[in-house]
């Protein structure tokens, strides 16, 4: 039984991959969200700040323009527990910059070129995420 969500996942995934392919073949660069943001945050990537800002602006604006296409309300379903949100945000920001990549850079761009670094990073962030679900959802019941 194939669920509709899986098909949309595949379609959206193909779009994500094509976006990364455009960035690679067009600009010769790896489409990594944490790197594009992080280079502006720590000023290490100010040399091509306009490209980074254009990427991030389109990343916000295009899905915002697509919202009216949805008949149901689109929600991130983010937890209302702000302590969890702050802790999660800090860990995501710190971790992706230490590891030099996130789901887009290591996951999509790294695995597709069979980069050992990308594969190892992906294994560790998946394992850590799964462990957090076990501890914080099933043991502690806070997420």
């Amino acid at each position: 039984m194939i669920e509709t969500d899986w098909i949309w996942g595949l379609v959206g995934g193909l779009m994500i991959g094509m976006a990364a392919a455009i960035f690679l073949l067009g600009n010769g660069r790896i489409m990594g969200a944490s790197g594009i943001i992080g280079g502006l945050v720590d000023r290490s990537g100010l040399g091509n700040w306009a490209e980074r800002v254009a990427f991030l602006a389109a990343l916000v604006i295009v899905p915002a323009m697509m919202l009216p296409l949805y008949s149901v309300e689109v929600s991130t379903h983010i937890t209302s527990n702000l302590a969890i949100v702050v802790a999660g945000g800090l860990l995501v920001g710190l971790g992706t910059r230490l590891a030099n990549g996130c789901t887009s850079g290591h996951g999509v761009c790294g695995i597709s070129r069979l980069s050992l670094r990308g594969i190892v990073a992906t294994v560790f962030y998946l394992l850590a995420g799964g462990l957090v679900m076990v501890v914080f959802r099933h043991v502690l019941g806070v997420i």
């Binding site: 990364a20 490209e51 602006a57 991130t76 983010i78 800090l90």
Partner: protein, 144 residues
Amino acid sequence: MQRIVISALSGGLFGAGLLVSGMTDTEKVQGWLDVFGAWDPTLAFVLGGAILPMMLAWHLTTRRARSFVGSPFPEKPDPKLGHNLVIGSVLFGAGWGLVGLCPGPAIASLSWGGTGGVVFILSMIAGMLLANPVRIRIDQLAAA
């Protein structure tokens, strides 16, 4: 100018794909990570779908000398893994599990993510600013 247009095209398509795939929904991401709960395999379809065009793109980089704008393609990274790759990925995965957002979807959902989404992005930026001092400290400990 070309580089900026290509960046915007890529960012826009990335955002559209994140919305369409359901990856801006923290329930779907946490559902994927929750192997012992009501497991949701959608993320595997997203990652699989994203890897296919990129495999083709990497293949094309071997047949061309330069990108469209004339810059060289990124070299294969140093295969050395290093402790920061592992420590960073574990910390990232923990935060990803706690909230269900990674950097791309966090930015893409800015317009409808509400206060929680903004707090997440600001915390993520703070975490990114911590990375350099933390890396220096980790490297000192590793060298000791």
